[in-house]
């Protein structure tokens, strides 16, 4: 059973197609990054998967059940993009209210709420009203709310918006912990660095259509960029590197960026360079930045 499955999911607002026949499967326990430019249909997709928006056509399943089914929602956590709640509630009251919606017993609530506040860095703020919280603090509290029920699937819609660099790092750490615990995370974000750092697979949506799904390596087309730093990189040596791939650029006589077909070529490249008189200092495989891929996919296919 897939954790999340969309079958020809479609949403139209009048003549505007927000999401066009989206087919998607997310495995249990994976961190799935959902990328797209503003207005591409990311949030509408998430809302359909959560039962907030009714699809015009197609079907969606979360943990094998229809979105909105209480039996499924009991195992789902959700942090909305612009998380807000009643400003007159204190952080503890807010979490208590939401825990009661999960029918969590009082004893468990007393244990779980301080534990979560600690986890999101809000320990000591239990009695403070939400009205006094900064945007970043509200975001952290929203994240705590999304984790209250020990969810099996968590939807995070722009979870780091409003957070400082430290907060972003903490959120990334929480996402990794969730993955380690076998929780499926559906991460809706346009913070590409964040997606790159934590996601197992990525889906890219463009104008309502899912145009790419795969691991970062798969999205890069199976190629690998290798930075070579060596003394004595003659033009002949540089040209000879072409047997393993394409030379993307050369900087002086000691630095070359090579796009290799596969990782297995690296030892052979190293040996060949040394045998041909180059003094090899570094041979660093580096993944192609997601930003490049994203721009190429979203803009290059227009």
């Amino acid at each position: 059973m897939w954790a999340i499955e969309a079958i020809s999911l479609r949403k139209e607002y009048g003549r505007t197609v927000a999401v066009a026949d989206l087919n998607l499967q997310v495995r249990q326990g994976e961190v799935f990054g959902f990328l797209g430019a503003n207005g591409a249909g990311k949030t509408t997709t998430v809302k359909m998967l959560l039962g907030l928006v009714r699809p015009s056509a197609g079907q969606a399943f979360v943990l094998g059940r229809r979105p909105g089914d209480p039996a499924a929602m009991a195992h789902i956590g959700f942090l909305p993009e612009h998380f807000r709640f009643h400003p007159w509630l204190t952080a503890a009251d807010f979490l208590d209210y939401h825990a009661r919606m999960y029918s969590m017993p009082a004893e468990e609530r007393r244990r779980r709420i301080p534990e979560l506040l600690e986890r999101v860095g809000l320990a000591g703020w239990e009695r403070t009203r939400l009205a006094k919280f900064s945007k970043g603090m509200l975001q952290r509290l929203g994240l705590a709310q999304a984790l209250l029920n020990h969810p099996r699937v968590v939807f995070l819609d722009e979870p780091t918006s409003g957070l400082d660099p430290l907060g972003r790092r903490e959120v990334r750490e929480i996402i990794r912990q969730l993955r380690d615990a076998g929780v499926t995370v559906f991460l809706n974000s346009h913070m590409l660095g964040e997606v790159e750092a934590v996601c197992d697979r990525v889906g890219i949506i463009r104008q309502g259509e899912l145009v790419r799904v795969g691991t970062l390596e798969e999205l890069a087309g199976g190629t690998l960029q290798v930075e070579i730093r060596a003394q004595g990189l003659t033009p002949e040596l540089t040209a000879g590197l072409a047997r393993w791939g394409r030379v993307v650029r050369q900087e002086g006589n000691d630095r070359v960026l090579l796009e290799a077909a596969k990782e297995e070529a690296l030892p052979a490249i190293a040996s060949w360079l040394v045998e041909n008189g180059a003094r090899l200092y570094a041979l660093t495989p580096c993944r192609r930045p997601l930003e490049d891929l994203f721009v190429q996919i979203v803009e290059g296919e227009r």
Binding site: K47, L50, G51, L52, V53, R54, G68, P70, A71, M73, A74, I76, F78, P80, H82, F83, R84, F85, H86, W88, L89, Y97, H98, R100, M101, Y102, S103, G142, Q145
Partner: protein
Amino acid sequence: MKIWLIAEMTFHEARQRRLVWIGALLGLLFLGVFALGYYLMYQDMARFAGPLSTQAIGAANGFALMGLYAINFLGVMLAVIISVDTLSGEISSGTIHTIVTKPLRRWEIVVGKWLGLLAMLSLFILFLCAGLSLITWLIARHIPPNIVQGTALMILCGTVVMTLSLLGSTYLAALANGVVVLMLYGLAFAAGWMEEFGAIFQNASAVQVGIVVSLLVPAEAMWKRAAYLMQPSFVREFGMSPFGAGSAPSPAMVIYTFLYVLVILAAAVRLFQRRDL
């Protein structure tokens, strides 16, 4: 049941927004003003016709009816104020997203909110009616007749308006919803008088129009029945007064109003279930 949790939260929200305290304070102010006016009026009548005389009691009852009329009006206003943005406000702020994605059905949210609002409205009207009855008993040893049924009908009147407002808040923004609901209440108010005057002048068409509008929005009809039950006998004999009623809508109309509230509530549930959030 999650319904009670939503109802509790709705009530708690009104308390936090100081609606409950403001309502209670203004209610006390109203009762204070009423008590003063009632006392002065009753003293004059007692001097003129003797304490506990038929005339003094009749006048006191008429004055009490005016107070009950004001309470009914305040109840209707409160019904609109507390419910006008109860769903639309949470939808526009996005607050609803974290609630709807919990393991509960959308109908539980609507019915829970309705119950919370109903509790608030009922407490407000009960508090004022009980306060007014206490004042009239302390000053004139008199309680308006059928005060319990009358109070229940006044709560039903406010419930009609509150439920219509809840229905509107599933789709309309607060301001638009408030305007629509108050206009509908105004329509029902005018229709009630049209029916009343139609009956006096034996104009069947006016009576028919009044009845049809009352069926569309039966709020004022409930006040008319409450007033008919609580008014002094001389008003009933006179045929009409600004605060009473010459004729009472039938008990069947009360049953109809109960069903009307349930149908409007069901429509609110249906609209909210189908709405994209």
